[in-house]
Symmetry: C2
Subunit: 294 residues, 2 copies
Amino acid sequence: MSDLKSYLKEQIALVDAALDDYLPEAALAPSLVHEAMRYSVFAGGKRLRPILTLAAAEACGGRLEAAMPGACAVEVMHTYSLVHDDLPCMDDDDLRRGRPTSHKVYGEGMAVLIGDALLTEAFAMIASISENDTFTVKDYLKQFAKTGGSCELIGGQVLDLEGEGKTLSHQELIKIHEAKTAALLVCSLRLGGMSAAASDDQLQALTDFGYHLGLAFQVIDDILDVTQSTEVLGKTAGKDEATDKATYPSILGLEESKQEAARLTQQALEALKPLGKKAHRLEQIAHYLLKREM
Amino acid sequence: MSDLKSYLKEQIALVDAALDDYLPEAALAPSLVHEAMRYSVFAGGKRLRPILTLAAAEACGGRLEAAMPGACAVEVMHTYSLVHDDLPCMDDDDLRRGRPTSHKVYGEGMAVLIGDALLTEAFAMIASISENDTFTVKDYLKQFAKTGGSCELIGGQVLDLEGEGKTLSHQELIKIHEAKTAALLVCSLRLGGMSAAASDDQLQALTDFGYHLGLAFQVIDDILDVTQSTEVLGKTAGKDEATDKATYPSILGLEESKQEAARLTQQALEALKPLGKKAHRLEQIAHYLLKREM
């Protein structure tokens, strides 16, 4: 695992350098919004999604440089969704990645605009993904807009808002997590694969991997919300229970939730098999996420 | 002008039919967001931006069908910006196009998500603009993301928020209007031209036309806010003065503002000359907007 840790560290540094490159400079007018965009993006996230994009490109024999704009785009889309989800009119969170949330620092109106600007910038990055004989910017754009849209990423948040205070079934909870979490992980992987001119079979393997990994990731997130402290998480712990939110532990119990996370991770690993040895990093990442503590 | 009126009516019907086609159906799950997206889009707007896209395509010898997805994209981007601008944490408006604003009907959290979903859907539409030997989806995407981004559309709203309660100079006001209004009009025209494989000279003419038309449009908007009733406007009249907002009438006075609108319209018309007779509809639209009463 120490090999994985230094790999992750290196990838984070590469992604951060690319984000610094692609995002408008903080001094550009109007500087308030550009400084605020960087405040949200450079808050020390795990960079899981862009790392998946790069590892997926590698798993399909592609170049890291070809995939990098897509890697940045998924991270920036993820960041926009956090900025808007944290708003008082949504999940109302004061803390994110250990720092005050955007609306606490810049005010609510600005936080809406910061999210809007990040989403728009994410689409701008899509235009820079390398084209190949199989995939063009048109394909990347369709994939990205579908994932970010009203049936996946935003749809999941809508279901989440609608489900507040209600008792949800296991199936309903899976539906929310498919849309809110798994969809963007699938997109991260597919954009990486597409930038490497992946075959249909390769893309299908990445999709199955991302789907199960995404659900596992969310089960673990729910578990950590119960078992970890605010200090360790960098966001308010115990919030799901305090707000009466349906989660895996609340529906299945803690022990069964842990088993579910392990099962889903196993299914994710199974899905990788057609990709062979080149999927080594994706495999390591899945193992690592199952054991994460923040 | 009666010829123009029937032309505008026909174009609105075409745009509305295309929007109906491109937007997710209201019944699609989660239906709340899809119904809400349609509530905002089908609120009886003037459809100025998409009509400019179609007329620009015509002025460059292109086909209406090739330009239509771009026409819908600019209208949907415009609608998203209204939904977010009307939020309590932004301009706090209860009325838009004669109906309660999105957050009044669906709540604030949902209104944020509705705007996000519309913006994402607008980008999805960009992927459907016909490609030609000169321009591909990559070019359309770059244009659209630049216009919607933190230096133009969103940047203008940031300047607007920052300027609240301050005394602005004529130059500062122009800067806000360039970003908030003129940029999207320019983009509407350019996407139409690009879908028609316009030459650099033709695109430059459309850009100059859109810039001056956009500024004229905003001057007239400011004038109407002073001179018209809420009933006629379909949005709260007299709001600029009530909120102490810098406007053309407040800086230049009403009479000088009217002359400024006429001057800007004249400059817009001058810019059209290189396009010749095919720009006939754009010319008519500029005359019409100068005399509009709502």
